[in-house]
């Protein structure tokens, strides 16, 4: 378990009376890409959000079990949620840049965490945009509103924004589902490069995408984690009948 960046132990989550996540026990390898697949409504996003406590914002959520980040319970009493969310960043399905300049978007996170010096911020902005492979496209318009970018650029901007606080883990909830094929390809290439430095968990509805970008895959169904393993193995020789049916497109 020592090489696991994140692991959960019998994680259960309820929205009011609805039991959404059921006894999820899983280990996520460090500096690898883990794909979460499964039909709509099976709890992938909910699971993802429970890893940086974004569910805290929703009324009526109850969580049982434990989530470990580097072996420490993130729901423990000593945990500083701000610190946690700095370490575990998130990229959403719909690109959601703030209505401010490209520069200010990237600088937002570092400012939250107390970076004040202009030089340092300049540095972070350039570095993050380079890492997210949008620097060339935006370097001459850093002061322009981020909302004016194309969908694909926006999403890479949001990835850059998440990277700017130097997270250890990146949670991505269907990051390419709102993008065209060319932009999707760029984001996938990006993920492949980023995994050298970051632990990445990506939710996707696209089997080919899971195969292309991920090292490990976990299959969710009706709130349960049915099967997980290396992507090559899971797609070649699924052990569970339901996994096999899902990846061969029998339902979904």
């Amino acid at each position: 378990m020592s090489q696991n960046k994140i692991s959960t132990d019998k994680l259960n989550l309820y929205y009011g009376d609805n039991h959404i996540l059921k006894d999820i026990t899983i280990g996520i390898r460090a500096k690898a890409v883990t794909a979460l697949i499964g039909p709509s409504g099976c709890g992938k996003s909910t699971f993802l959000k429970s890893l940086n406590r974004m569910n805290d914002l929703i009324d009526g959520v109850r969580i049982e079990g434990t989530v470990y980040l580097d072996g420490k319970d993130i729901y423990g009493p000593q945990v500083d949620v701000t610190r946690l969310r700095k370490r575990v960043g998130m990229v959403f399905q719909q690109p959601n840049p703030f209505p401010m300049s490209i520069y200010d978007n990237i600088a937002y996170g570092p400012k939250v965490h107390g970076v004040k010096s202009k030089e340092r911020l300049d540095e972070i902005v350039e570095q993050s945009l380079r890492q997210a492979a949008v620097w060339e496209e935006v370097e001459n318009q850093l002061r322009k509103p981020a909302l004016g970018l194309s969908g694909g650029q926006k999403q890479r901007l949001c990835i850059a924004r998440a990277l700017a606080v130097e997270p250890e883990v990146l949670l991505m909830d269907e990051p390419t589902s709102a993008l065209d094929p060319a932009s999707t390809l760029k984001v996938e290439e990006l993920i492949n490069r980023l995994k050298r430095k970051y632990t990445i968990i990506i939710v996707t509805h696209n089997m080919q995408q899971a195969v292309r970008v991920s090292d490990d895959t976990a299959f969710f169904l009706l709130g349960e984690m049915v099967e997980c393993g290396t992507t090559d193995r899971l797609f070649a020789r699924p052990t569970d009948r339901r996994t096999k049916e899902y990846i061969t497109g029998k339902f979904g």
Binding site: L57, K86, F92, Q94, N96, P99, M100, H113, L147, R161
Partner: protein, 288 residues
Amino acid sequence: MMRKLKDDVLLCLIYLAAFLAEFLLIGILAYVFVRGFPHISWHFLTTVTSILEGTVGIAGNIVNTIYMVVLTLAIAVPVGIGSAIYLNEYARPGKVVRLIEFTTQTLSGIPSIIFGLFGMVFFGVTLGLGYSILTGALTLSLMVLPLITRNTQEALKAVPESYRNGAVGMGAGKWYMIRTILLPSAMPGIVTGIILAVGRILGESAALLFTAGSGYFLPRSFGGWFHKLVESGGTLTIQLYLSMEKAQYDTAFGIAVVLLGMVLCLNLVTRVMVSRFEMPKYTDAGGR
């Protein structure tokens, strides 16, 4: 053929109605301007009425108006924005919030004379503030509070949920997120509410007559500018009302022109401010 004729006739009627409405409005403005402008002079604007010398001036009323606007906003804007933020971002949605929202809406439909009655009795008598600019401003604050709260709330509701998630997901605390993301995005709506409030303050007479009274003097010493807050002071609209009562129509039209000028300026300033704050609107920022 018949149909074409019918369409044409209808179109003519619509044009006529539009023309009439425009014409009436411009006509009224022009009339007020023509009647009032000749009576505006440097003397009229910079002195106060003197019975001894038999001159008329509205400097005191202009100062009172500025006091009234600034003081009322100073009270109502923080409270209004604060309560909108509370209702929208902190309070749990439910019966209580809906009740407060309903009350706020109702409050904005109450005739202003009732605010005047309450203000006079409560602020003037019970709190002992008497006829004063302070009493008037407190009364008007109650009156414009719903405007500011509602406009701010609507603006906050229009901020996409995805902005909140983005900020909070990065570790921003709630208040930090509100300050850096919500309030700037909601600024055009907030400014609109404030401008509407200023419009009401400028135009108000019923709620002020028995709260702020009709004093029209300028302060005579430095301390007087502060003491003014607890003295009676009539705004331009009050003075206009009193002039009409005394059949001093020249003065009345003069004041009317000054008021119209203020409202016009206000509208221009608003436009500039709102367009400054406005971010380009692209639709795919993500829904709630």
